[in-house]
C-alpha cells in the first residue's frame, strides 16, 4: 500500500509508544519502591493495571518495529543473442524490452535489453 502513508504513520506513533512505555515502566518502578518501603497493598493493586497497559504498549511497539516497508529496485539485463554475453544493471530512463543496446564487447554482435524487472526488498522501521 502507499508507502508514504505507512512511513507517516510509523513516524507519528513510534516516539509516542516509546515515551508511553518508558513512563509506564517509571510508574511501575515507583509503585514497587513504595510498596517495598511501606508494605501497603494499594500500590500492588495499582500496579496490576499498569503492568497490563505496559505489556499492551510493548506489544504494539514490537508490532510497529516488525513492520517492513517494501522498497523496489529496477534492473535490466542486456544480452548478446550471438555469444550469450550478459550484464545486469539498474534501468535507465526510456528503457524497454528488446531495445538494441549497441555492440557486444566480446563478439561485436547486437546487444538487446532481454529482461527488465523489479526486485523487492524489505526495509525495517529504524
Amino acid at each position: 500500500m502507499s508507502e508514504e502513508l505507512l512511513r507517516e504513520l510509523r513516524r507519528k506513533w513510534l516516539p509516542i509508544y516509546v515515551l508511553l512505555l518508558l513512563s509506564l515502566v517509571f510508574v511501575l518502578l515507583h509503585l514497587a519502591v513504595n510498596y517495598m518501603n511501606t508494605g501497603n497493598t494499594t500500590y500492588v493493586n495499582w500496579a496490576i493495571p499498569v503492568v497490563f497497559f505496559a505489556l499492551y504498549t510493548a506489544y504494539a511497539l514490537s508490532k510497529l518495529l516488525r513492520t517492513r516497508i517494501p522498497v523496489y529496485h529496477y534492473y535490466r539485463v542486456i544480452k548478446c543473442a550471438k555469444c550469450g554475453y550478459e550484464i545486469t544493471e539498474e534501468i535507465k530512463e526510456g528503457d524497454y524490452l528488446f531495445r538494441e543496446h549497441g555492440e557486444c564487447p566480446k563478439c561485436s554482435g547486437v546487444l538487446l535489453v532481454s529482461k527488465i524487472y523489479r526486485k523487492k526488498s524489505l526495509r525495517g522501521v529504524l
Binding site: 528503457d95 527488465i116 523489479r118
Partner: protein, 371 residues
C-alpha cells in the same frame, strides 16, 4: 435462598439490554474505525496516483514548451479527464451489444487520445498511450475511493451494522485491486513492462528468436510477423509496443485470415491469468479457448471468427496475482515466459501437421515491450 425481588429482575433486564446495545455500538465503532483506516489508505493512493499523472503531464508539456506550462489549466484538464464517465450500452435487447460496446470503447479511446495530443502535441504515440493508461488507472482509483466512501457514509448515516459489515468484508479484495492499480501507475509512468505484458513478451521473444525481420502493422496499434518453425509457418500477432496498448487483436486476426484465405490449422493465445491464493505465481497452464481478459469484446470476436472458419483454439495461461499483473514484471515471470514458449513449440509440433500454419497471439498490455 434469596430469590431476589421483582425490582432486581427489572434492573437485571435493563442492564442486559444496555449491554446488548453497547455491544452493538462498540461493534459499529470498530467497523467504522477499520473502514476509515482503509479509506485513508485509498485516498492516499488515489492522491499519489493523481500527482504522478499530473507530474507526467507537466514533464511532457514542459519538455515541449521549454518550461512554459500553465499549471492551473493543466491540472483542471487532468482533473476533468479523471472524472469522465463511460456509459455502457443498454443491454435490454442484447442483439449487437458487442459491436456497440466495441464502437464505444474505440471511439472513447480515440477521443481521449486526441484530448491528450492537444495537451501535448509533440508527444510520441508511446508517451500518449502510457499517459492514457496512467489516466485510466488513476480514474479507477478515484472511482474505487468514491464508491467505498459512499457506502461507508450511507452505513454510518443510517447506523447500519449490516452495510458496514458487508463493506468491511469486501475491503481485502478492494485493497488487492488498489495495490494493483498503484503498481500500474508506477509502471506506466516509467514505461516498463508489467505482469500482464507476459503475452506480448512471449510473442516478441518468438519473433526475435526466429529472426522474424518483416514485422508489419496492418491494423492500428497491432503488429504481425511470421517465421518458419520445424516445417510449419508461424504467424505472430501482438499489440504494437513499447507504448502501453492492448492492440486490436480481433481486427488483426481477421486481416491475417483474409490474407491466407483462412488456411490456418490453429490459433494459440497466450495471456496472464489471475491465480487463486493457494496457487504459485508463474505457473503455466494449458487450455482450450481464447486466453483473454477485459470486457470480452475481442474475445467474443476471436471466438466468432474461429467458429466461422472451424479453427481450433488453444490457450496458454501464465498465472499471477492481480498486483503482479499490473506492477512492473517480476524476475521469476521470465522463467514462465520460457516455459510458455516451450509449450507453444510442443503444441505446434504435436498438433499442427508439417506444412501447416498456426497463429500465435500474445495477449495483454505491451507497455515496455518492442515491437
Amino acid at each position: 435462598m434469596d430469590q431476589g425481588s421483582f425490582l432486581d429482575a427489572i434492573i437485571w433486564f435493563v442492564m442486559l439490554t444496555i449491554l446488548f446495545y453497547l455491544n452493538r455500538e462498540i461493534e459499529i465503532m470498530r467497523l467504522v474505525s477499520e473502514i476509515e483506516r482503509y479509506l485513508r489508505l485509498y485516498k492516499a493512493t488515489r492522491d499519489k496516483a493523481l500527482n504522478a499523472t499530473l507530474s507526467g503531464f507537466k514533464a511532457l508539456v514542459a519538455r515541449q514548451e521549454k518550461g512554459k506550462v500553465d499549471v492551473k489549466k493543466l491540472e483542471d484538464k487532468v482533473n476533468a479527464l479523471i472524472e469522465f464517465a463511460l456509459i455502457i450500452p443498454v443491454s435490454l435487447d442484447p442483439y449487437g451489444i458487442v459491436r456497440k460496446l466495441k464502437h464505444l470503447l474505440l471511439s472513447s479511446e480515440e477521443a481521449l487520445k486526441d484530448e491528450l495530443r492537444r495537451l501535448a502535441p509533440k508527444a510520441t504515440d508511446a508517451e500518449i498511450e502510457n499517459l492514457l493508461n496512467m489516466l485510466g488507472a488513476t480514474r479507477l482509483l478515484n472511482q474505487i475511493y468514491k464508491a467505498v466512501d459512499h457506502i461507508y457514509r450511507i452505513g454510518r448515516k443510517f447506523k447500519s451494522i449490516w452495510i458496514l459489515m458487508q463493506l468491511n468484508a469486501q475491503l481485502p479484495f478492494v485493497t488487492e485491486e488498489v495495490r494493483a492499480l498503484e503498481g500500474a501507475v508506477e509502471a506506466f509512468s516509467k514505461g516498463l513492462p508489467i505482469g500482464d505484458s507476459v503475452g506480448p513478451i512471449v510473442a516478441a521473444k518468438l519473433l526475435h528468436e526466429y529472426n522474424a525481420l518483416k514485422v508489419i502493422e496492418p491494423v492500428e496499434h497491432t503488429v504481425v510477423g511470421g517465421f518458419e518453425f520445424e516445417g510449419r509457418e508461424v504467424i505472430v500477432i501482438k499489440a504494437k509496443g513499447p507504448g502501453g496498448s492492448t492492440g486490436r487483436i480481433d481486427d488483426a486476426l481477421r486481416w491475417v485470415l483474409n490474407r491466407y484465405k483462412a488456411d490456418v490449422n490453429a490459433i494459440i493465445t497466450v495471456d496472464a491469468a489471475l491465480k487463486l491464493e493457494g496457487e504459485e505465481s508463474g505457473m503455466v497452464v494449458e487450455g482450450f479457448g481464447v486466453a483473454m481478459g477485459g470486457l470480452g469484446v475481442e474475445r467474443f470476436n476471436i471466438e466468432k471468427i474461429a467458429t466461422e472458419y472451424g479453427i481450433p483454439l488453444y490457450a496458454v495461461l501464465i498465472k499471477m496475482s492481480e498486483e503482479e499483473a499490473f506492477s512492473v514484471v517480476d524476475e521469476k515471470l521470465y522463467d514462465s515466459v520460457d516455459k510458455a514458449i516451450s509449450i507453444i513449440k510442443r503444441t505446434i509440433e504435436d498438433r499442427i501437421p508439417e506444412g501447416g500454419r498456426v497463429i500465435v497471439i500474445g495477449v495483454g498490455n505491451t507497455v515496455g515491450v518492442y515491437p
